[in-house]
Amino acid sequence: MRIESELMRGAGPLAVLKLLERGEMYGYQLVEALARRTDGVLAMGQSTLYPLLYNLEAKGLIESDWRTADSGRERKYYRLTAPGRKRLAADTRQWQALAQAMQGLGIGAAPAEARP
């Protein structure tokens, strides 16, 4: 299932920040990781990912540098900055609150008739 672009607009940046929390990654790696770790739900093409990365960079939430891999291929690695970590923490809390609220409405939880 693919997520509507409106929802993706809020979820995409948070997902990317979350992936970078554990270490730096390059563009293709992020595309693959998003598709793999979300079962394709948050899979985003290059048309979305790279503008998203440039926007996060413009906001100072991530930073990047070019390096050459052993394979000889060039890669641009992105990593979180201190403001990026703060934003990730704040956005994570908001998403959790949102998820709880949605669950309270029966969205994201087991069907109502199945509840005790």
């Binding site: 093409g45 790279y50 503008p51 413009a58 540098d65 050459t68 052993d70 291929r73 060039e74 890669r75």
Partner: protein, 596 residues
């Protein structure tokens, strides 16, 4: 989660490398390379930014190919290059330096302001160049009405015109001093011979001078067109030439007075002097400043000639002649002070306004192209013709210049103040250096209007001249009264009061101090004088400076006079003496007295 298969350190790729070079270095398949190049080109980013994007896309596709994905699949995932380029461009621009973004915002602001300005200017220009005046009043016709009421047979101008036509060309030998040549001068024989040739012209002038009115009207329409002729143009077409001719005839009469004196021709002498006085009245036959200026100058010629004549040949004029002159002078300007007319200038202004503004029917309107150059001439072009500067700035006139109603109100306020002041005798005037416009309106933000700036100085100067000629005229009346008294009593009176009421209705006032005109006997001869510029009675002696008597016959605003009186003696000519009206005080060309 760092990829273990990487080598630290920046890649050896030039920051500003061309996308094609980068794609070639990456060794991508043709289809993929095309997508990368198309995307990079469509971003329209800075060269360094395009290089960075190209490198990243090359890296992306190279990783995909290395992961075993087919080029077609990767291209399909990538999406529309143009759409991707738009998103990338938008995001990348956010990474640009703050100073650049500030510059862009400033440019946008200026651009918007410019656009608004252009739209506003276009709107104003449309209103300015398409607005049309409503010429409702034919001011020339209104001014002509009293002239038209004068019967043809009572008009002097036709005779003056004939006289001008009958005047032969002035010989070269006489041109330099014509009007100032006297019996005994080297040019005198030539002058007499020339005056002989002018006999017919002189007769016509005297006939004309005897007429009740001048009878010269203004043209009211240009050609066959129905629109009333602009008053300024109508006046310019007639009066300067006409008045110049009248001054020409005045000089002729002055010289003929001396011819008559030399010939002991009493009737001729009186006839010439009366004709000059009448011509001065005729010159004032229209209510414009130029008419008053010429009228004052012509009367001054008559008074100077009379004063000189009474000094040189006191016995020449008989009692009847003296009485005739006294009556003629006494009737000048209705017998009171010589006044300066404002009606003509007001009509000129009103006519200009009706041609320069729109008319909303309630007395207001906005300035339009048809008249802006009249009201606010830049001085760079001929009057009435628009220069490039006028053309460009004209539409903005409505933003900075007052509308019709305020323009008229300001003018009327200024005119009223100036006319009130000008109607006072010199000693009662309070004009100061301060802008007259400001004093008239009590508003210090008032900008001196072009109309006011043009009118006020000439009006003040001319009204001062009118006061001075009033004083000279009053002095001449007293002089005639004294002469008549001397002939009847065998000597001059001790005081001018003796002349009242038999020979004078009242002792005239000194226009410089408001007290009676000064009189004393010196060596058995009367001395008539005013205290003059400094307001101090110096016993009837003119200031010792060059042309001192002329300088004492001058008026300054009180504040300026106080300032001048505080100066060292050599810097205050005209002070320290009186303005002697009679006997004549004469100077040579260097300003040295020659009558002593």
């Amino acid at each position: 989660m760092t990829d273990p298969a990487t080598a630290a350190g920046p890649a050896p790729v030039p920051v500003r490398a061309r996308p094609a070079e980068l794609v070639a270095q990456a060794g991508l398949p043709a289809g993929v390379a095309e997508v990368v190049l198309a995307t990079a080109a469509a971003t329209r980013l800075w060269r360094s930014e395009r290089a960075d994007v190209t490198r990243e896309l090359c890296s992306h596709f190279a990783e995909g190919l290395a992961a075993g994905r087919a080029p077609v699949e990767l291209i399909a995932d990538f999406g529309d290059p143009r759409r991707v380029a738009v998103l990338i461009r938008r995001a990348k621009k956010r990474n640009r330096p703050a100073l650049w973004r500030l510059w862009v915002q400033a440019c946008k602001g200026v651009g918007a302001l410019l656009l608004v300005s252009v739209v506003l200017y276009a709107f104003l220009a449309f209103r300015y160049y398409t607005g049309s005046p409503t010429v409702a009043h034919d001011y020339a016709a209104e001014l002509n009405a009293p002239i038209a009421a004068i019967a043809e047979a009572d008009r002097a101008w036709p005779l003056y015109r004939q006289a001008v036509a009958a005047v032969p060309k002035l010989p070269d030998v006489l041109t330099a001093r014509w009007g100032r040549i006297r019996t005994g001068d080297p040019e005198w024989p030539d002058a007499v011979a020339y005056l002989e040739q002018c006999r017919a012209a002189l007769e016509l002038v005297r006939l004309g001078a005897a007429k009740p009115g001048l009878g010269a009207g203004l043209p009211t329409h240009a050609g066959t067109a129905g629109a009333p002729l602009e008053l300024d143009a109508a006046m310019s077409a007639v009066w300067p030439e006409l008045l110049s001719r009248m001054r020409q005839l005045t000089r002729l009469l002055v010289e003929d007075t001396w011819r008559a004196e030399a010939a002991n021709d009493r009737a001729g002498t009186v006839g010439d002097l009366v004709a000059i006085i009448r011509m001065a009245e005729h010159a004032r036959g229209a209510p414009f400043l130029i008419n008053d200026a010429v009228g004052v100058a012509v009367l001054d010629s008559a008074l100077q000639t009379l004063g000189e004549l009474m000094d040189r040949s006191p016995a020449l004029l008989d009692e009847a002649g003296l009485v005739a002159l006294a009556h003629r002078l006494g009737a000048f300007s209705g017998g009171g002070p010589v006044v300066v007319h404002v009606e003509g200038e007001r009509a000129l202004f009103r006519d200009m306004v009706q041609r320069s503004f729109t008319d909303d029917g309630r007395g207001d309107g906005r300035c339009i192209a048809a008249g802006s150059n009249r009201l606010y001439p830049t001085g760079s072009g001929a009057a009435g013709s628009a220069t490039m500067l006028d053309t460009l700035t004209g539409p903005l006139a409505g933003l900075v210049s007052p509308g019709r109603r305020r323009t008229v109100e300001e003018y009327e306020q200024v005119l009223s103040l100036v006319a009130t002041e000008a109607a006072k005798p010199l000693y009662a005037r309070t004009f100061e250096g301060e802008s007259v416009e400001v004093r008239a309106t009590g508003d210090r933000t008032v900008r001196p209007s072009p109309m006011g700036s043009m009118l006020v100085p000439s009006f003040i100067a001319l009204s001062t001249q009118a006061e001075l000629i009033t004083q000279r005229r009053d002095g001449a009346l007293v002089l005639i009264a004294l002469e008549l008294y001397r002939r009847a009593s065998g000597g001059y009176p001790a005081s001018l009061d003796v002349l009242v009421p038999d020979r004078l209705p009242a002792v005239p006032i000194d226009r410089f101090d408001g007290k009676p005109l000064k009189y004393r006997l010196r060596d058995g001869r009367p001395v008539l004088y005013s205290v003059g510029l400094d307001g101090v009675d110096d016993g009837g002696m003119p200031p010792p400076d060059p042309y001192g008597n002329t300088r004492a016959a001058h008026w300054l605003p009180p504040a300026q006079l106080r300032k001048m009186m505080a100066e060292p003696a050599q810097f205050r000519p005209g002070l320290g003496g009186d303005w002697v009206l009679w006997p004549p005080i004469r100077y040579d060309e260097d300003g040295k007295r020659i009558d002593e």
